[in-house]
Symmetry: C2
Subunit: 352 residues, 2 copies
DNA sequence: TAAATCAATTGTAGCGCTACAAATGCAGAA
DNA sequence: TTCTGCATTTGTAGCGCTACAATTGATTTA
């Protein structure tokens, strides 16, 4: 008797088999390979199993077969909504493949490693991570066990497989949009400290693009990732001091952008007329504040789906090591950028 | 050889034992009951295990012992931030107890049942749910297996154990706050449809309290839970039509409240002078918009902690069935309610 | 009619680990 | 010196399930 269930008796495959008058293997097959079992037999087994309240023990199945139908995903945060669609995409994809998704939250690399250890300990079928910065210990572990790993929000040099979009291209598209709208004094808000690669490629893209058009590319202000809305006011202050003619702002997230918009309101600056504001991430707030935020929408739902599919295909035997999928992005043009002034010549906006 | 690991060889307890020149049981004890193993032996085993890259197989351990160090939590949503601190509390609590927390997302009761089935299949040590409305199938399953279950945001009649706060008391405290601030035409925004019990007790509390002071208690408007910010404008429109003297609004979440504030801005109505707005949940946006929202802050971090502790204690053998913990709440007074007019006589605000 | 074929079912072994009881070895007591 | 008590270590059995090979029995083919 299982200790887990305390005084309750536990229903095993054995007991179901006995009650149904078949062998344990027939019960096993009924659940794992229904097509191997005759319709009539299968119905009987299912009925008895339901009556007895049988719940397959995944731990035992996993141990016996060396296989698992559980995939683990590590999510850096649920504080903001940017991972909502990513998780939904994963959920929907695994459901249609007959797998299960379990999540672990890890806000630091240390915790990510712990989460990976748990998943490996559970012998999951695959692991989905966000970003490409992991502790050496985590890398060793994944390398050693050979568990399929997908990194989301990653475009190059994956540990195993990756799915993402080019933040370089995306930033370029946003800068081009601002140039097209007639802005010439464009500020950039970046994250200071150990912010992940997800943010790293943006600043170079920003600088190169502006430099290419002979414009100031040094209007950069770094804020703390944990500041949330509060980062907006700080950055606005800092950038305005660098260039009083500041007429556009590229923000690292819609949250920061919303903070900027609120602060502009407090200062009586009109958005978008005086200052155009561009967010990143298509958070819910982006479409709800006034003016609605022009922002970058990564196809995170598709990213989640793709991540799960890659793992399932690998399990099925595809030789997919090193595979990278690009799920693209879209620039959502909304009211926080206006097209009133003369566009920069030679600019044409890329939107996907 | 495990099929999971493909062509890599898998390191088992056996191989560690052989390499360290001890029996498998000593390796097992080293990990599970370190105090049973001599310091010297333990160090050697740990060193060898690290060198070989050994990762304990939880599935096997679970099967052999009937115990698990993994606790599963079902979260209804990560779309908004209200569960952030709840999850953090759970994480911190399990970490200090030597357990692991895994999450599953379930936005419907159907999905919740599926999540519970997965957790039961994995033979987790306990399950944390949100709310007290579950499918019959889920209840049967939990009853049958006897797995420890904690319901969060629940105050009475738990399935097994519960942790929460009184939404009745909380609503009363908010109504009293508005009465104290001098409001007399208070509107209530509720959720229509199958919104959970988390919302159900609020309307009666609202009505009773207003009725007790001889004020209108029928200024109620129901909105769709999925509307987000958009619910604000709809409700404002509906309630204003019921009573043009409307001077305060109780919202089901800070998101809806923010929607109301934004809409007031569009209509040129001043908050809080013309209309006081009260939110619920202490979302990040509540302190960032202008005016900052007066809102109700449930101690969700403490709720998460308490939930995990209850499960761990149950596993340790405490007879804790039916246990209920109250983690309380706080009313955060901010700018969206002002104290300009004469207070209702006899009112004194309760804040925890 | 006998042999071959095939779908459906079954027995056996073992996945990696831990509970439990048994064995070992060593200090101090008699 | 032998015995007892104790900390430490070790065999053994088995958790619940599935891979795989073997078996059964009905149907088809020669």
């Amino acid at each position: 008797m299982s200790k887990l269930s305390g005084e309750k008796t536990s229903v095993t495959m054995q007991s179901v088999a006995a009650a149904a008058g078949v062998s344990p293997m027939t019960v096993s097959n009924t659940f794992r390979y229904p097509e191997r079992v005759q319709e009539e037999t299968r119905q009987k087994v299912l009925r008895i199993a339901a009556e007895l309240g049988y719940v397959p023990n995944y731990a035992a199945g996993n141990l016996a077969s060396g296989q698992s139908r559980v995939i683990g995903a590590v999510i850096p945060s649920i504080k903001n909504s940017s991972f909502y669609n990513y998780v939904r995409g994963m959920q929907d994809a695994v459901a249609s493949e007959g797998y299960e998704l379990i999540l672990k939250l890890a806000d630091t690399q240390r915790n990510e490693t712990a989460a990976i250890e748990t998943f490996v300990g559970l012998r999951v079928a695959g692991i989905a991570l966000v970003g490409d910065e992991h502790e050496e210990q985590a890398l060793r572990l994944m390398r050693k066990t050979g568990v399929p790993v997908v990194e989301a929000w990653v475009q190059d040099a994956p540990f195993d497989m990756a799915v993402g979009f080019s933040t370089y291209e995306a930033t370029r598209a946003l800068v081009d949009l601002l140039l097209e709208s007639g802005r010439r004094h464009i500020g950039f808000i970046g994250y200071a400290g150990a912010a992940s690669r997800r943010f790293k490629q943006r600043m170079p893209a920003f600088r190169e693009r502006l430099a290419a058009y002979g414009l100031r590319s040094d209007l950069v202000h770094l804020v703390d990732e944990t500041d949330g809305f509060g980062a907006g006011p700080k950055a606005l202050e800092g950038l305005f001091r660098l260039d009083p003619d500041l007429d556009a702002l590229l923000c690292p997230t819609d949250i920061v952008a919303a903070g900027v918009v609120f602060e502009c309101g407090r200062r009586g600056w009109r958005v978008p007329e005086q200052i155009a504001v561009v967010g990143w991430g298509d958070y819910e707030i982006a479409s709800e504040i006034t003016p609605a935020l022009t922002t970058l929408q990564p196809n995170t739902y598709q990213m989640g789906q793709a991540a799960m599919r890659m793992i399932v295909e690998r399990v099925k035997g595809d030789e997919s090591a090193g595979k990278i999928m690009d799920t693209g992005f879209e620039v959502l043009r909304r009211d926080s950028v206006s097209w009133t002034s003369e566009p920069m010549r030679g600019i044409s906006t890329v939107t996907a």
